[in-house]
């Protein structure tokens, strides 16, 4: 039953082994994209907003 915590574990060893040949390429792609976008966002704030507003100290 969907949403039920007692969902049967769908992975028998053979199917799991086959899937693990591809994992974690997708996770790496998504994670790399997320980190790259974070860096872009951070540098945008740093270069386009923070630095032009002048010195502080």
């Amino acid at each position: 039953m969907t949403g039920d915590p007692e969902i049967e574990d769908a992975a028998d060893d053979e199917r799991l082994a086959r899937v693990l040949e591809d994992v974690p390429k997708g996770a790496l792609a998504v994670s790399l994209a997320a980190v790259a976008l974070l860096l872009v966002g951070w540098f945008f704030v740093y270069l386009a907003i923070f630095i032009p507003r002048g010195t502080v100290g």
Partner: protein, 180 residues
Amino acid sequence: MPASERDILATELRWSAVVAGAVGIIFGAILYAAVALHANPPSNIETIDPKTLHLSGEFTESNLGTRVEADGQVTTRIVATQFTFVPQCVVVPANRPVTLRLSSPDVIHGILVTGTNVNTMVVPGYVAQVHTEFTASGDLLMPCHEFCGLGHSQMWATVRVVPPESFRPDQDGRVACEKP
């Protein structure tokens, strides 16, 4: 070839290296801003007794506002108190180093100046000091940005940035906002 526990750990280790690189880049940029671009959190530690602030010499009412010191340094002194800034309007020159010095005789306040990186807490017991250089002329808003009591919402001041040629200190070196 099923992924062994060792393979999985090796992959996680490689991802950790990516993470270390990413945070390293951010850390490097922060360091560069601090050292080369003079962007640091204001951190001048200087104490002053809040109970005698109005008698302290530096923060007596006649000494507040903007003054050009003998060495040419522009210093603006402001008292933050429930629920007003004294003075409520200050004049500063554009494109010149300015030092803001604030203190409080009562509770915690704080300030920012819109459109700039000027930001500091004003903690009773301490002189808050911020060095900056204003780049654009105009009237900027300087609100109290830390909850200081029921009148907090009405506590704000004006920072009037004037072009250098309009910044004319009187014989005491003082510059004040024109009375309306």
